[in-house]
């Protein structure tokens, strides 16, 4: 014990030595906490998630309107106005007042409610799109990088092959095709999928189209990461003591390679959100009346001369959300890889 005491470097004090072993994740989290913009963004995103999850509860509590309730006679209501709304078509306005914080759209639907419900589509596309891409890309890249040789060659040729495919035109074509399916009787398994899509307001095929095309970069990144780690001594040591391929991949490689992959996916989330917004903008995203910010911006463009808030409200929501994800992604990148901070 005494020898160990003496071997202690002079610069380290007792406290530092006794501290628990630090994991890469814990380090990253401590680093992230120092980044104010990233933490504010994280808080904002959490608020968005809560809003998306509790939209129905807020509606039931009477705080917000249903996204599809059309208040009669108050189309294009200005922000911060109240109206006696006539829900039951008897020509007599109901005594209950309804106040439009952000105004109403051309059909008299409350813009605030639609924007809040719109969070659901954007976040769902952002998280599920990146989740699918992370899963497929990591599995593909790790297998390709770990086993190497002919398997790697074949798998990477396929990735190269997909890399030359223009993403946006193809996704537009796929969406046109999927949209045509939703009105048709197709039968069999396809009918099940079409029903799922219809019940999700057209989001399911959006996930399929986005997910099918977006894992390519992730697979390349994962492969590169695995290639750089698999020759390291700790992997060799694990193999020397008889660890199998699966154990090496899951226990030794994945924890090391997953950080940059998560960072890269976080930075890709705005891309998914933007893709959905753009597709909805040109009418190929979610099905109306499901509120989507992109579709709302497009609908508002026609009235932009007199009713700019129709574009500004969903536009601000969209911009703030992508901004938050970008700040968080940048913060995560700095936290996980100090070399990239450019300091």
């Amino acid at each position: 014990m005494a020898t160990r005491e003496r071997a202690k470097p002079v610069t380290l004090d007792e406290e530092e030595l006794l501290r628990k072993p630090r994991s890469p994740m814990g380090d990253a989290w401590r680093q992230l906490q120092k980044n104010k913009a990233a933490m504010i963004s994280l808080a904002f995103i959490i608020v968005l998630i809560v809003m998306a999850l509790t939209a129905d509860l807020m509606h039931q509590a009477g705080w917000i309107d249903d996204y599809n309730t059309q208040h009669r006679g108050v189309g294009y209501a200005e922000p911060l106005t109240c109206a006696n709304d006539d829900k039951d078509e008897d020509g007599v306005p109901d005594p209950v007042q309804f106040c439009f914080v952000f105004g109403a759209d051309e059909l008299g639907r409350d813009l605030l409610s639609r924007t809040i419900y719109g969070t659901r589509v954007s976040l769902a596309v952002g998280f599920i799109g990146s989740g699918v891409s992370l899963l497929i890309g990591t599995v593909y890249g790790v297998i390709s990088g770990y086993y190497g040789g002919r398997i790697d060659n074949l798998m990477m040729r396929f990735v190269d092959f997909l890399y030359g495919i223009p993403f946006l035109p193809l996704i537009i074509l796929m969406q046109v095709y999927f949209k045509s399916l939703s009105n048709a009787e197709v039968g069999g398994l396809a009918q099940v999928l079409v029903d799922i899509d219809n019940s999700m307001g057209g989001m399911f095929f959006l996930f399929v189209a986005l997910g099918a095309l977006s894992w390519i970069g992730m697979a390349r990144l994962a492969r590169g990461q695995v290639l750089s780690y698999k020759e390291k001594e700790f992997v060799e040591a694990a193999r020397a003591v008889g660890a199998g391929d699966l154990r090496i991949i899951f226990i030794h490689l994945l924890p090391n390679v997953i950080g940059p992959l998560i960072v890269s996916e976080t930075l890709a989330i705005p891309g998914y959100i933007f893709s959905e917004a753009f597709l909805s903008f040109i009418g190929l995203g979610v099905n109306p009346p499901t509120p989507s910010w992109g579709a709302m911006i497009n609908a508002g463009r026609e009235g932009i001369r007199s009713k700019p808030y129709l574009v500004l409200v969903p536009g601000t929501a969209l911009a703030l959300t992508t901004l938050a994800f970008n700040f968080l992604g940048d913060g995560l990148r700095d936290a996980f890889d100090p070399r990239l901070r450019g300091e």
């Binding site: 092959f161 095709y177 911006i297 001369r305």
Partner: protein, 353 residues
């Protein structure tokens, strides 16, 4: 005569040799040729995908025939004329055979029925290119100074402001920025026109009197700005990180030790090397220009290629749609190859074989 031929042959060989050497030696040429050849199956696959997908969508190009009631016989006659009555694979085979002859087939839309697709593309592509190239120029013109400023005044207010604007530029989607710009400059201030493009279609580089006319500029400002800010944000970030990296190198310390003024050190010594990684962004930008203009054209109603593509989808103009898709793919593949070539130019340690 034979002496002349010999001379021509000699010059041709020397030029070929120079090209090969410029591209990085015979191994590099082999690599490029292999990459281009590898692109062919990709092109075939995307062609087939587009070909089959659009035909699987209900409705056909000739649905416009007959105002009140569709005249089935007329539709059948038109379909026969354009070979749409044949089985899918035969149609595809015929299309590819025509494609190999450089023939993209006739347009099937109502307004352009029978016009060669290549002619339509030749009219529309230059406009998309003008938007894209100007946006790239704006991206570099704005991004590099911003990045340099941020790096030179590292960790100061200037740095934070520049970095903040870079994130902002990257974050505001063009479908938000575009309408907001229209709202401010076209609707409220009425300085700029809302939509369309200020030069004739089919002209790659507009004549100078058009290029510098207010009509052209006023149409170009908003779309180019919308597309360019997003690019400049990425370029600024890259420039900053790269310059900060270089500033720590030994040769910079040497230059400072020699007593060179700080300005010379930064702008002559550091920037030269710092811009190398920035140059490689040109390849991804090429792809971004195409997909980017796609979005921009729809927002600002610019009659370019993206606009054509979306119209061809709704009009079920099969040939035009497949033609534009092939063009996008070809650009993307060439862009990817260009990136790899540029890496070897800029960093001789990278070798492909």
């Amino acid at each position: 005569m034979s002496g002349f031929l010999e001379a021509v042959k000699g010059v041709a060989l020397r030029i070929a040799d120079a090209i090969v050497r410029a591209l990085g030696g015979t191994s590099m040429v082999k690599y490029i040729i292999r990459r281009v050849l590898a692109g062919i199956p990709v092109l075939l696959a995307i062609t087939f995908a587009a070909f089959a997908l659009i035909r699987a969508v209900p409705g056909g190009p000739f649905d416009f025939v007959g105002t009140k009631q569709r005249d089935e016989r007329a539709v059948a006659a038109l379909e026969q004329q354009f070979g749409l009555d044949k089985p899918l694979l035969i149609q595809f085979f015929n299309y590819v055979v025509n494609l190999l002859r450089g023939n993209f087939g006739p347009s099937l839309s109502r307004t352009n029925l029978g016009t060669p697709v290549s002619e339509i593309i030749a009219m529309k592509l230059p406009i998309s290119m003008q938007v894209g190239i100007m946006a790239v120029m704006l991206g570099f013109g704005l991004g590099i100074p911003l990045g340099v400023l941020a790096a030179v005044y590292h960790n100061s207010l200037i740095d934070y402001t520049a970095t903040f604007f870079a994130v902002l530029g990257r974050s505001i989607p063009s479908i938000v920025l575009g309408p907001v710009l229209i709202l401010i400059f076209a609707v409220k201030l009425q300085w700029l026109p809302v939509a369309f493009w200020g030069s004739e279609p089919g002209v790659w580089i507009p004549p100078l009197n058009v290029l510098f006319s207010w009509r052209y500029i006023s149409h170009a400002i908003m779309p180019v700005f919308t597309l360019g800010t997003g690019m400049s944000a990425g370029i600024a970030r890259l420039t900053r990180a790269s310059l900060l990296q270089v500033m720590r190198d030994d040769y910079i310390r040497t230059a400072r030790a020699k007593g060179l003024p700080e300005r010379t050190v930064i702008y002559l010594h550091a920037l030269k090397n710092a811009l190398i990684p920035v140059a490689t962004i040109v390849g991804p930008l090429l792809a971004a220009v195409l997909t980017g203009t796609f979005v921009i054209e729809l927002i600002f109603a610019i009659p370019g290629l993206g606009d054509t593509f979306v119209k061809s989808v709704s009009e079920r103009d099969y040939n035009l749609l497949v033609g534009v898709t092939i063009l996008y793919s070809a650009f993307l593949i060439l862009g990817n190859i260009l990136v790899d070539i540029m890496y070897t130019w800029l960093d001789p340690r990278i070798r492909y074989d």
